[in-house]
Symmetry: C2
């Protein structure tokens, strides 16, 4: 059985029209999928409204107790249920999950070194049996980036990392394609020219592009991570825009 | 298979110590169960912090769009995930669900008559197959009072009504006891004397108590509703305090 694991950013959920369009695309897919969503801006907006200071370090959020509650409300609550209900309205039998639900995504609190990131989790394990139980019964898991330490702590987690862990976890049972959506059509030779899209990246092409410095530096960690998940068993990683879930750039072995 | 459907109020979730104690009691139960929770005060507190006016009519909340978002965040998000993670930490394989998740609780928006209640749902149907899929795989559903209209709308719903609908839905598959928790030990002959607890209410005793006006008027709708769910297939309805989930008053046929 083929499964897509699709990561979408929180930006796609905030606007009703954008969410409707994305949900139409998801409902049109031929394959079963797992959706992993972020929710960044919804959390920041709620924090601002509540007068809770958004603390950042090198572009990454520090999650204190008040910020964690906000993340749980915004991501596990509003963002997750909006996506699930938009999919349900289109006949997709979506089921929202956060990491604590059937302990589907276990993590640990990031150890304090130079910076105390607070209630931030690094993923340890995805319970593929839980996802398979839902998938094999025709349900589509919709996973929020709130994960769970077995001590009972909820932890705010990077949604890209959750998506990668879900994909590698499911790769033991299914043929998995991991899809990252971004606001570009895919990996471009010229970031200002959408027609310079590279449809397929192989290890030899990637090496060549890097050697010739033809690839944008921001893409390098994304493709490096893609190859890490491919080494861990994922069949392919797609980097594409949300309105072309079967297009964009595909990274393969 | 015997199943308890347990309704708890939102007040039990807000305080960490109270939630810990309740979770200990739930983890100690011999039977599988479904938990249905409210979340009233968490929603009101969040509304106050966000400067959203809480509109009431005859003691019941009117849910406008901003209030619905707050209810989804507070009930489907924070309250639900706090309960699930507290249970998981005690070895109970809890799975949080709102009505939209696998369309487990379908409702319709309450029709406008004298009052427009806004985004408030009245329950139409509980999908017992979804709950049975989880229960039969060792998971414990934890259901928030956010339900779902098949058009895609999320709706704020009375948690007692959700619990009754879950119990009657499950009664087709299991032997169900519906448990309502309150801040009294159960149904009392004298509301100021906890030792006046009535352990068992039968239809003939209920008739007698009403005739002799020995039962507090606030209990009458609760017991009337209990008999409605019993007529709909539920085996018994327990009215008890959260620290005595197998005690209190049991209402039987």
């Amino acid at each position: 059985m083929k499964i897509k694991v699709i990561k979408i950013g929180g930006k796609l959920i905030e606007n009703t029209d954008v969410l409707a369009s994305l949900s139409d695309s998801l409902a049109a897919l031929d394959e079963a999928f797992v959706l992993v969503h972020g929710g960044g801006v919804m959390g920041s907006q709620l924090a601002t409204k509540l007068g809770v200071e958004v603390k950042m370090h090198e572009g990454r959020r520090i999650t204190d107790a008040a910020t964690l509650d906000i993340a749980v409300m915004a991501y596990a609550g509003l963002a997750n249920k909006r996506v699930v209900s938009a999919l349900q309205a289109r006949g997709v039998n979506a089921c929202g999950l956060s990491g604590c639900d059937m302990a589907v995504v276990k993590s640990h609190r990031r150890p304090v070194k130079d910076i105390d990131w607070g209630f931030v989790g690094d993923v340890d394990e995805v319970n593929a049996d839980v996802l398979a139980l839902l998938l094999d019964n025709g349900a589509i898991p919709v996973v929020s980036p709130i994960t769970f330490a077995p001590t009972g702590e909820l932890l705010n987690t990077n949604a890209d990392s959750v998506a990668s862990a879900v994909a590698t976890g499911l790769a033991k049972k299914y043929e998995v394609e991991l899809v990252f959506t971004l606001d570009k059509p895919g990996v471009l030779l010229d970031v200002n020219d959408d027609s310079s899209l590279i449809p397929t990246i192989t290890p030899s092409l990637y090496e060549e592009l890097r050697r010739e410095e033809k690839i944008h530096s921001g893409m390098i960690p994304k493709i490096d991570n893609a190859y890490k998940t491919i080494e861990a068993g994922v069949k392919a990683v797609r980097i594409t825009s949300p309105d072309s879930l079967t297009g964009g750039t595909i990274v393969v072995k």
